[in-house]
Symmetry: C2
Subunit: 267 residues, 2 copies
């Protein structure tokens, strides 16, 4: 449950560095949270760990912070992706927020035959993910990719990344089996990928410095399910494992949240 | 993902029985889903399994259905409760919906020192749970109890029902350990408890005919967390096990959904 103020910034973090808050952050600090000059907040940027910073100036909707000391170093995080068919706006927002809380490294919205939504507002997804990362005490913000057809993503799927597919009305083993639990990355510390990846970035491009064991992903289909042709393509992919989320039929956003919770174990 | 129409009814289900739809159901069938006389829908009541029924009459906002044949018998379901500190309206609604999808048998809203909400609309919770049960292909609707202080619920906690408590910033083992997975009830078939339990109903009162193995519950605190005194009372309870949902700080509603997903395994 949310604790003290933590803000995500893009600037490098080191003792003594002065950082300008964005307009939204300045508004949040001054107007929403009523913080005054001299008070402390936490900062993280996905690369340099978490730091305390002192609110140095605040006036006319602007604020600056001076970085003080490191609270904790950048740490390894699970290398789990979520691939999900775009849903209606509220459901997609929920998926972005909850997947961030549950620690996913990357979000890949995809288009399928039965996907209704086509357009997304990546800036809004980005804002939701940042807020969720700030509140959940993550040290990174997940990368969020441009939507693309599921078939295109499967064609360029990175070698070695297992893809668990939430199956309904299909025989599949339960998702809780031990080998499919993603393990936290051990060392060296992961370097955060860019927040919003450029549309052309290959899905297999690992961020520099990332050492991953057991990279994995969960794929959740649209409300109407996959078509038989899509299921054939999925089943035929060498890295795919169909998994069951139980006997009930879950809404797509519930399948995403519950599936991630189970895959990540205590990660 | 939701399939064909399924409706929850309170009347007994048997071949040939005629059942009057509620006004809301008649509106849903005729106006929302544009169903015509002669078309088939599914019915369940939490006791008699799932049946097909033919839309027999429909006019002026009223509809009746004639039960045809049984699709599947009433089946055992996991005996899992969710105890949760009342949250803001949207978050509580989400918990009721997702917990129903994830198969909980009973929802126990509680009041804690840091709970902001005091009043609830049980009728709305009930409607949300029924809709989620209809869409998730459950054969029951969870019972939803009147809010009460957490201390009162702990005092009357039923013997033999383990209570897993989502712990944050507390040393606790991961929630995924095998002994805490709730097992489906085997036999005889569970008889559904009343949808909304009367305020005075003792929490240990099992529905008649229920045979339970490994009854369990998950307790999730309010956004602000439990107070030290509450944590002491929780820790001191003989049936309580503190469990971790991972290193991140989850919103209360996320903790409820993710915790249930993990506890239930493939249940």
């Amino acid at each position: 449950m949310p604790g003290s103020i933590r803000l995500f910034v893009t600037a490098p973090l080191a003792a003594g560095v002065e950082i300008a808050a964005t307009a939204a952050q300045a508004h949040y600090l001054g107007t929403v949270m009523r913080r005054a000059v001299g008070e402390m907040v936490g900062l993280f940027n996905g690369r340099d760990g978490e730091w305390t910073a002192r609110l140095a100036t605040m006036r006319r909707g602007e604020a600056s912070l001076v970085v003080d000391r490191m609270l904790r170093p950048q740490a390894a995080e699970p290398d789990m992706w979520l691939v999900f068919a775009l849903l209606k706006r509220d459901a997609t927002d929920l998926v972005v927020q909850k997947a961030t809380e549950l620690g996913v490294a990357a979000l890949w919205p995809v288009l399928t035959a039965r996907t209704n939504a086509q357009r997304v507002n990546l800036a809004r997804f980005h804002a939701i993910a940042i807020e969720a990362a700030e509140q959940s005490e993550r040290l990174t913000v997940p990368s969020i990719h441009e939507p693309q057809p599921l078939s295109a993503l499967l064609k360029t799927w990175p070698t070695g990344r297992r893809l668990f597919v939430a199956a309904e009305r299909e025989p599949a083993p339960p998702i809780a089996a031990p080998p499919i639990v993603a393990r936290p990355i051990v060392a060296p510390p992961i370097v955060a990928p860019p927040i919003v990846a450029p549309p052309g970035a290959p899905p297999g491009a690992a961020p520099p410095g990332a050492a991953t064991t057991c990279p994995a992903a969960l794929l959740v289909g649209p409300e109407g399910g996959f078509t038989p042709a899509e299921l054939d393509a999925i089943r035929g992919h060498p890295l795919v494992t169909l998994v069951s989320l139980g006997p009930r039929i879950l809404r797509a956003e519930t399948a995403a949240i519950a599936g991630l919770a189970r895959l990540q174990g205590a990660g």
